[in-house]
């Protein structure tokens, strides 16, 4: 923990360590260490045509060292090592980083492209505390429900399809392999069992949490496998090992492109999702290169390239004009705020309920992690 003399306070009065933001931009330090999701930082070393790093390096003189993390939790762990300057944190990681004092507030004035970012992404609970921005939005997406069109008939419209204990697709249902998936169950319960009183799937008190865990334990019997990476998921749907389950839009597109008969919906209950934020380490060794990077990656061109390559909605309004596929922003609902209104972005569950309740204690992420272990059995 860090000093807590009133850097601000979050849900339930949790205090935020006081960390100074960078006041002015100086010269680059020559390199920058980044933690990112796979596909966010491509330097052409794998595919020459996929490169939005080289130009940055030559323009700024900052050499990019990138470390790919597989999950949000890994990102947090990596950032805690203090070896990295910048991270592309999802909402379930960002608050942990903020409250852990691992990241610094961002001086948005130093980031020229910040003004072009969709307003719907700015100053959100997962990237700002008390109106102080802790990061630069990168892009967003929803965890959609994917299914095999040739097998799953009629097309599902509700998450109920994956929580049905008598599902005809028992053994072929898939779910995302992370404790945060408990929120998907909570989201479903929010609509199917309103008397539980769930207001926010990331703020679960004991009863609500137990209900979600019970639902997931039940679901486990119907699960074929849990997934965490693209290749595994695409392949499972193509081969037919999985026919129904959570997915990302990009996976849907990939599978379709490879000729798999799949489709995806945003079910009636809405969905969980992510909105990623570039954050800068509290004790960054290369803060200037870090700022230069954050500015670069949300520039119209780079942001469009990432969004298209990775398969998500870009954060920069001007990016929609820069994509190769002119329909990209439409496909990914980039400017469709009503679509994203139904999406509960990943947020770190805390003991101080993030929905603002103060009469109960919520389950924190450590509890979610241990519960997830128990769910999988």
């Amino acid at each position: 923990g860090g000093g807590d003399e009133g850097g601000g306070s979050g849900p339930g009065g949790l205090s935020v360590p006081k960390v100074e933001k960078l006041a002015a931009l100086g010269a680059g330090e020559g390199e920058v260490n980044i933690v990112s999701w796979a596909g966010y930082v491509e330097d052409g070393s794998t595919d020459k045509t996929v490169d939005w790093v080289s130009s940055f390096e030559s323009e700024t003189g900052c050499k990019v060292n990138n470390k790919v993390a597989a999950t949000s939790d890994e990102m947090v762990t990596l950032m805690k090592t203090g070896e990295y300057d910048v991270v592309s944190a999802s909402g379930d990681a960002s608050l942990r980083l903020i409250y852990g004092g691992d990241v610094a507030p961002v001086n948005t004035g130093l980031i020229a492209n910040y003004k072009d970012i969709f307003d719907g992404l700015k100053d959100k609970p997962w990237n700002a505390v008390n109106g102080v921005a802790y990061g630069v939005p990168h892009g967003r997406g929803a965890n959609v429900l994917m299914y095999r069109t040739d097998i799953v008939k009629p097309a599902p419209t509700s998450w109920g399809a994956v929580f049905d204990p008598n599902s005809p697709f028992k053994g072929k249902i898939t779910a995302y392999d992370s404790p945060i998936y408990i929120a998907d169950a909570a989201l479903y319960l929010m609509k199917s069992k309103p008397d539980l009183g769930i207001k926010n799937p990331y703020a679960l008190d004991d009863t609500q949490f137990d209900a979600a865990v019970a639902l997931l334990k039940e679901q486990n019997k119907a699960i074929g496998e849990y997934w965490a990476d693209y290749t595994k998921e695409v392949q499972a749907f193509k081969a037919g090992n999985s026919v129904l389950g959570t997915s990302w839009q990009v996976i849907v597109n990939l599978a379709k492109a490879d000729g798999a008969p799949v489709e995806a919906v945003l079910p009636s209950e809405g969905a969980t999702g992510w909105s990623d934020t570039w954050m800068i380490a509290a004790k960054a060794a290369h803060p200037n290169c870090g700022y230069l990077w954050m500015n670069h990656i949300v520039s119209p061109k780079a942001n469009a390239a990432v969004a298209e390559w990775f398969g998500e909605a870009p954060a920069n309004k001007l990016s929609c004009a820069q994509t190769v596929d002119k329909n990209h922003c439409t496909t990914f609902h980039a400017d469709d705020e009503s679509y994203f209104d139904q999406v509960w972005y990943w947020t770190t569950p805390l003991a101080q309920c993030v929905d603002g309740r103060t009469d109960v204690t919520c389950k924190d992420y450590a509890a979610w992690t241990q519960a997830w272990t128990a769910i999988k059995g």
Partner: protein, 278 residues
Amino acid sequence: MHRHPRWQLAGLLAAPVLWLVVAYLGALGVLMVSAFWTVNGFTGGIVREFSLANFRTILGEEVYRTVTLRSVGVAAAVTVICAVVAVPMAFYMAKVASARSRHWLVIAVLTPLWASYLVKAYAWRVLLGNGGPIDSLFGGPGRGPGYGLTATVIVLAYLWLPYMILPIYAGLDRLPDSLLEASADLGARAGHTLRRIVLPLLVPSVAAGSIFTFSLSLGDYITVQIVGGKTQLIGNLVYANIGAAGNLPFAAALATIPVLIMVIYLIAVRRSGALEEL
């Protein structure tokens, strides 16, 4: 040679002991100590105060027992499968094949060690996939084992097989032919010779191979993610808590399980002379 034995010994041992005892055991020791610490749920900061909370959780929740037993079961199954597959192969290589082909067989067995572990695991994902080659072998989509515990055992056995063949082959190579002949001479058929003479004498070699197969299986968390379906092993739990949740103390507490199992295992197999045959 015999002038200053003490100093010679010190010269030989200084660097290795510094490395293995001070650095490695030291690191392990600190890890084991941290198992008694806890982590602050909000900040992820480590609380360096003695606490049995982690162990209480581990002992109290059934899932940890289940996963431990499952992991040991998988490691044991992999070891048995590897031994069963390796013994006849090593026997053929050491005692039946001509000197020439023996040379090539050793190469053939060693080569896969260089193909990436991950790539091989993914190849198995394809093989085991719905309607994949294994399914066809069993008569159609869904007929094969699919992804799950069985697949995990098969793939781990596949990955570690060379580590079992090598020590057994070396052991058989050293086993004088005359012992096998003596057994036949005394009236024993091949099967009997195998059971009464070859296998008992191979115990140290098999045990040596099993150190690889058992420990590598016990600690694996990647293969099981690729072909294990929804299966989780100890490795996954440790990984989920360190790599993912950043809960080093809890991960360390979980890690004591495989450490304990392996230390007991090593002490048990040491008596067979296995440690010298790796």
